[in-house]
Amino acid sequence: MSKEKISICEDLADVMPPEYHTLVENATYGNGERGWKDIGSSKELIEQHSLCAGCPEALAFRYVMASIPNPEDTVFVGSTGCTSLVFPHVAIQNIHSLFGNQNAVASGLVRTLRRRFPDKKKDVIVLAGDGATVDIGLDCTMQSFFRQENITTICFDNELYANTGGQESGLMQKGFVAKMAPVGKTFEKVRLPEIAREAGCHYVACLTVSKPNRVEKAIKNAVLVAREVGPTYIQLYTPCILEIGKQSMEGLDEMKDAESIGGRFVMKEYISDEAKKLLDSVEAERKAKKKAAKAAKK
C-alpha cells in the first residue's frame, strides 16, 4: 500500500459515494505530522462506528487512527470483541484474527512484510480487547514479547468481556460484580504493563483516553519503537459504560476519575534504554526540522 494507491479510478469516480471522494481529497495519508489535532479539519480514517452511543472505545479509535504515523503502510490486526465492530469502518488495512490469536497473526505478518518489502517501513499494530489480550490470548501476547517481535500491541481495557455481555476478565478490578460475573472478582487486576516490561517490551504505556495529546504521544512512541527496536505495549482504559451503569455522557468523567491520584489508571510509562535513545533522536530531529522550517519562513 502507498498513498498513491488511495485514489479512485477516473472512469468510475463519478459513481463513488461522497465519503470516498473526501477520503481521497482530504485525509492525512502521507502527512508525517498527522495527529489528533487533524480531527475536525480533515477526513478521519474512521467513517462511522457501531459501538454503543458514548462508548469511550469510539473515542479511543479516533485518537489512535489519527495518531499512527504511517497509515498507508500500516496493517492492524484485530480480534473478536467490541473493537472488531469498528474495523469494517476504518480506512486502514486490517485483518480480523481468531479470538486470542492476534499477536501470533501479527508476528507472521510483520516478518513477511519485512521480507517482501525490505526497503519500506511497514507497521503492524495489534488492537484488541482485554479478554483477547490478557486472558484467552495471553499466551500469544506474551510469546510475541519474548520473541521480540516488531509489533505494537494496543489493549482496549474495559475491564471485562463487553461484547458477550459482561464476563469477568483478568484486567477486571478485584471485587467487581458484572452482569455475568455475579460472585465478584476474587483476585487483583492483572498487572500487564509490568509483566510486559519484564517480558521484553521496549515501550509500555498505560493510560486513559481522556487526553488526546497523551494518547497521540504514546501511540507514536510505541509504533516508532516497535518499528526499530522491538515489541511495545499500550493499555488504554476505555470503560464499558454499558456494563458499569453509566450514561452516554459519563465516559469521560469515568476516565478522569480513574486517572486522578490514587486511581487505577494514573498514567505510567516504561521505556527501555534502547528505546529512549531512539525516541530522543527522533525528537531532536523533529525539533531541528521545525526550527529549520521556522527559519525558512523568516
Binding site: C9, M16, P18
Partner: protein, 210 residues
Amino acid sequence: MSQYQVKAGPEAYLPPAAASMGIVLPDPGEAHIEGKIVSEDKAYEHCAKKLLEAKVPTIFPGPLVLWKWNEKAAQKAAAVRRLAEILPARIIPMADYRPKYPKIDPEVEINPNHPNLTIWHSNIDVGLFVGVHCHQANLALKIIRGGTNCYTLAMCAQAGHEDACLSFRDATVEKIDKLTATIERLKKEGVKSQAEPFTQFKMDRTGRVD
C-alpha cells in the same frame, strides 16, 4: 439425482451454497451457465443476451475496479464503463463491504450484507458483478438468489463463482472488452436492448450532482 441449477431466485430465505449442491468451478478457458460448465465463447453469447433482454440491466463494480490499485485496475474500470455505455446499463458501486448505518441509499450503492435492498429498490432483473472480493461476492450472490429474482452474472478475476447464475473466470480487460464486442455484434445483428430508459446518477464529494 438431477443436477442442481443455479437459477435466478427467489429460491429460499437461505439458499444452499451451490458448491454444496455439487456445482463445480470452471477450468481455465471455461465458464459456467447456471452451474453447467460451458466454453467461454458460449458464456459470452449467453451473458450478452441476458444483459440485452433485461429491463434494468445493472453493473455492480467492486473495490478491485473502483480503486486505482494499479494501472490494470484503471484499465478495467475503463472497460467496465465501455460495457455500461454500449448496453446501456446502470452502474451501481459496491465501494466497500462495511455494514453502513443507518442504512445504504439503495438507489446509488449496493452492499454485500444486504444487496437485496438495492435490487428490490430499482427492480434490477440482471446484474453483473465485477471486482468484488470472492468471500463478499459469495455472500451477496447467495442473498440475491435467496430473496430476489435477479439473474446474476460474475465477471470474476479468480476461479469463478458457483453461486452466480453465470460466471466467467480469470477476468481481464480483454475479456470485459470481448463481452462488450459481443453485445455490439448482437445489436448490429438486430437484437435490441430492452432496457427501460434511465439516467445514470453522478456523485462528487458533496453527494449527488446529476
